[in-house]
């Protein structure tokens, strides 16, 4: 790996830093806690954020969202076998409870994440077989060539087979069914921090893993990390202002200015890899909450009317105070397949929307419930309220049900919603991920977040094909075609791409990461 001299130098510097910052505690807050510590149960931002401190992945995206080697040191497609990816596993890595990492644990973890309980399996549908060639080499065979396979591993945490077997957690927790397993509240990873204690929704304390394989490679200045989720926006800000916490991950948009002016506190801002949108069940014959005996969402004209009535620009101005980018498609600009033309925001037009409603036979409107999380996305409930009043103008009476995200996502997963708000980030930076989860027909593996009931053969074909096509140009054509189809169908109502603000004590050196995943091993204190 590293040349000996550099290694020594890094070790010395590392030791110096470690002494200098020996007892540095960082108190971290954001609006919501991780849903579970089971690393493969949920594919969800705050959950991954916590798990990234405890576990490692084969490959991860660093603070600049560049792909970096984690537990894999090298990866490449096997020569002459385009369907096989070979991963070299880092040697000398141990889990927090002492087990040493081998290729077997990696095979186990990938297969665990392919289990039907796992929300991560949508990323792994192309895999046919995973095998350990020797103690430190893993081969992943895909059914068709998959040029982007490593991108799908950035949130795939590696756990110990021995530990999982010991505690009976070989299968991921079934989150939708409310299952409790040992892995939900206990974790044994190889990551930079160990869990010292955890009380869900109250406090999780991490301590630095001094045996971390990267201890000399990363700043690792935090010795103790205390994570306290605080749901109320003003309490969260008050906690930072009063010095009760050091790092605030999701700064409420209304408080950005106030915190910028406060002494000893600074804001870091950037675009987030996440788009907020509304989804509608257009597949069911009859809606659950509507007062009609048919499904108005099944009519494209109704969807177009909603799209025209929801005024993303006003939401950006009034609800987000300018801290968002109104969207026309549900892919953020970083993503391969993004097109400025499609992302253009429609001018809101209530009169035309009303006409469309009448054409569709809903001139008198209808009533439906909108489900919304109230602690997941920036001003999520406020966005929904704005939507309620915008849709009221075209005769749609919307009952708003806003609740905490653990309930929202569980009920969404059980397909209980007609009309819902969702945000989608694209960790693979490629449209295939979006089609795979949000547009493909909902079957066992793919389309697991497609609660619209939309099913289109051509989209399914294209989704599968874009996961396999090696020729970049042909692949990008497929992506463009797929976007064209879904854009025309108006399957979702895009609202905006989220902007991200992190606020912190001003002696902290930490940039926002567009995945909104802070890797605290990179955090530095300015002495």
């Amino acid at each position: 790996m590293l040349p000996k001299k550099t290694l020594l130098a890094t070790a010395v510097i590392g030791a110096m830093l470690a002494t200098a910052a020996n007892a540095e505690t960082l108190r971290w807050t954001r609006s919501a806690d991780s849903l579970t510590m089971d690393p493969h149960s949920q594919n969800e931002g705050p959950t991954h954020s916590v798990n990234h401190q405890i576990f490692d992945t084969l490959i991860y995206q660093d603070m600049d969202v560049e792909y970096q080697p984690g537990l894999a040191t090298e990866w490449s497609v096997k020569e002459d076998e385009p369907t096989v990816w070979v991963f070299k596993i880092r040697e000398g890595v141990t889990f927090h409870e002492g087990q040493s990492l081998t290729a077997d644990d990696v095979v186990f973890s990938i297969n665990r994440a392919r289990h039907e309980n796992s929300d991560m399996r949508g990323l792994l549908t192309s895999i046919a077989e995973v095998r350990a060639v020797d103690d430190y080499t893993v081969e992943v065979e895909t059914s068709e060539p998959n040029p982007l396979l490593p991108n799908n591993f950035t949130n795939l945490f590696i756990m110990s087979r021995e530990w999982a077997e010991e505690h009976g957690v070989e299968e991921p927790q079934n989150y939708a069914a409310g299952e409790e397993t040992y892995a939900v509240r206990n974790a044994n990873g190889t990551g930079p921090f160990r869990v010292e204690s955890r009380e869900p929704d109250v406090r999780t304390v991490f301590v630095r893993n001094d045996d971390y394989w990267g201890i000399d490679h990363y700043p690792m200045e935090i010795s103790r990390l205390v994570f306290t989720p605080i749901e109320s926006a003003s309490t969260r800000v008050a906690a930072l202002l009063s010095g009760e916490v050091d790092f605030l991950q999701e700064t409420p948009v209304q408080d950005i200015e106030r915190l910028a002016e406060a002494d000893g506190i600074k804001n870091e801002q950037g675009a987030e890899n996440r788009t907020i949108f509304l989804g509608m069940d257009m597949g069911s014959a009859e809606l659950r909450t509507a007062d009609t005996d048919d499904n108005p969402f099944a009519d494209r004209r109704v969807r177009e009317a909603i799209n025209l009535a929801v005024d993303a620009n006003t939401i950006q101005r009034a609800v987000m105070r300018g801290n968002s980018q109104p969207a026309g498609m549900i892919a953020p600009p970083f993503v391969n397949g993004y097109s400025e033309e499609m992302d253009e925001v429609l001018e809101a037009d209530t009169a035309r929307a009303q006409e469309l409603m009448e054409e569709a036979g809903y001139g008198d409107g209808f009533r439906v419930t909108l489900n919304c999380p109230n602690d997941r996305y920036v001003n999520d409930e406020q966005i929904c309220q704005a939507v309620v009043s915008m849709l009221a103008r075209i005769g749609i009476t919307v009952d708003l049900e806003a609740q905490t995200r653990s309930l929202h996502f569980a009920e969404l997963a059980r397909e209980e919603y007609d009309f819902y708000l969702l945000g989608w980030g694209v960790p693979t930076m490629d449209s295939e991920y979006i089609f795979n989860y949000l547009y493909h027909t909902k079957d066992g593996d793919r389309g697991s977040w497609n609660f619209t009931g939309y099913s289109d053969e051509r989209i399914d074909e294209l989704t599968v094909a874009m996961g396999q096509e090696i020729d970049e140009e042909a692949r990008n054509e497929m992506i463009a075609e797929a976007w064209e189809i879904v854009h025309d169908e108006i399957l979702y109502i895009p609202i905006h791409h989220q902007m991200l603000t992190w606020s912190m004590r001003d002696d902290i050196d930490f940039q926002v990461q567009s995945e909104n995943t802070p890797h605290f091993k990179y955090l530095k204190f300015n002495q």
């Binding site: 209304q254 408080d255 200015e257 309220q385 708003l400 049900e401």
Partner: protein, 322 residues
Amino acid sequence: MSQDVQTRNDTAPVVPPKPSKWRTFLDSDIVYSWKRQPVVILATLVTLVMFAAALFAPWIAPQNPFDPRQLELIDAFAPPMTTSDFTGNFYLLGSDSQGRDVFSAILYGSRISLLVGFAAVIFALVLGTALGLLAGFRGGWRDALIMRIADVQLTFPSILMALLIFGVIRGFLPRSMHAEVAIIVLIIAIGLSDWVQYARAVRGATMVEKSKEYVQAARVIGLPARKILFQHILPNVLRPVLVIGTIGLALAIIAEATLSFLGVGMPATQPSLGTLIRVGQDYMFSGEWWILLFPGMALLLLALSVNLLGDWLRDVLNPKLR
């Protein structure tokens, strides 16, 4: 009547007229005590004004904050006493993040707060009185069962009970009904969490009354138990119940505000005072103080004056409780 006669016959000899009911009322201990306490007079005035404002909200408020069509998102965060450049609407107490007029929202919100408060108190009162009568009059296993349930419930804070009941009732209802019945569920949850004190007071009083001679006499002449209970005992145990009820109204208003503040009560689209405070607290640091301050003041005034009135009424009606 007698006053009318008096005005017509000025020259008639002055016979002390039979005091009217109104006169009797004005001369009563209650009014005497009321007139001597400026704080109570003030509390009465505030309560009356707020009741009237809530009652006549649709005629006073410039906007119906429950009708999403009337909200102008573009006017969001208008400061108090400003006229919007976009829509020309005037915002007396400012507007919130949805362009909702804070003044109108307070009027409509106190409507919900008062409605829930009154209904919950009546619900708790009726339930508690019925169970207390039954327990006190019948005794035996009914008494034991009812009072043990009451004891167990008393060990939980009532807001926790209300949260629990709220959650359970909602769990049984189909999703499409949630928004429509939110207010009824809220009334039942607060009422159910609050019946115990009525039941205990009534039970105690019933046990005392039960052994009195008039009840025994009624029994001896063979009146059915139902009749004795409702015609003879009930009127005599109602006084403490009404006193608890008056104080309970302030508590119920606060309970509703607490639940809505916690986000389980009224939805943000039909805000009560508690919901308005919950929404407003997000803007505590950002300079939009009016979103939190005015609903908070309204709740404070309402709860304080109703509470003062309740305390005063308790002192007048039932000096033993002091």
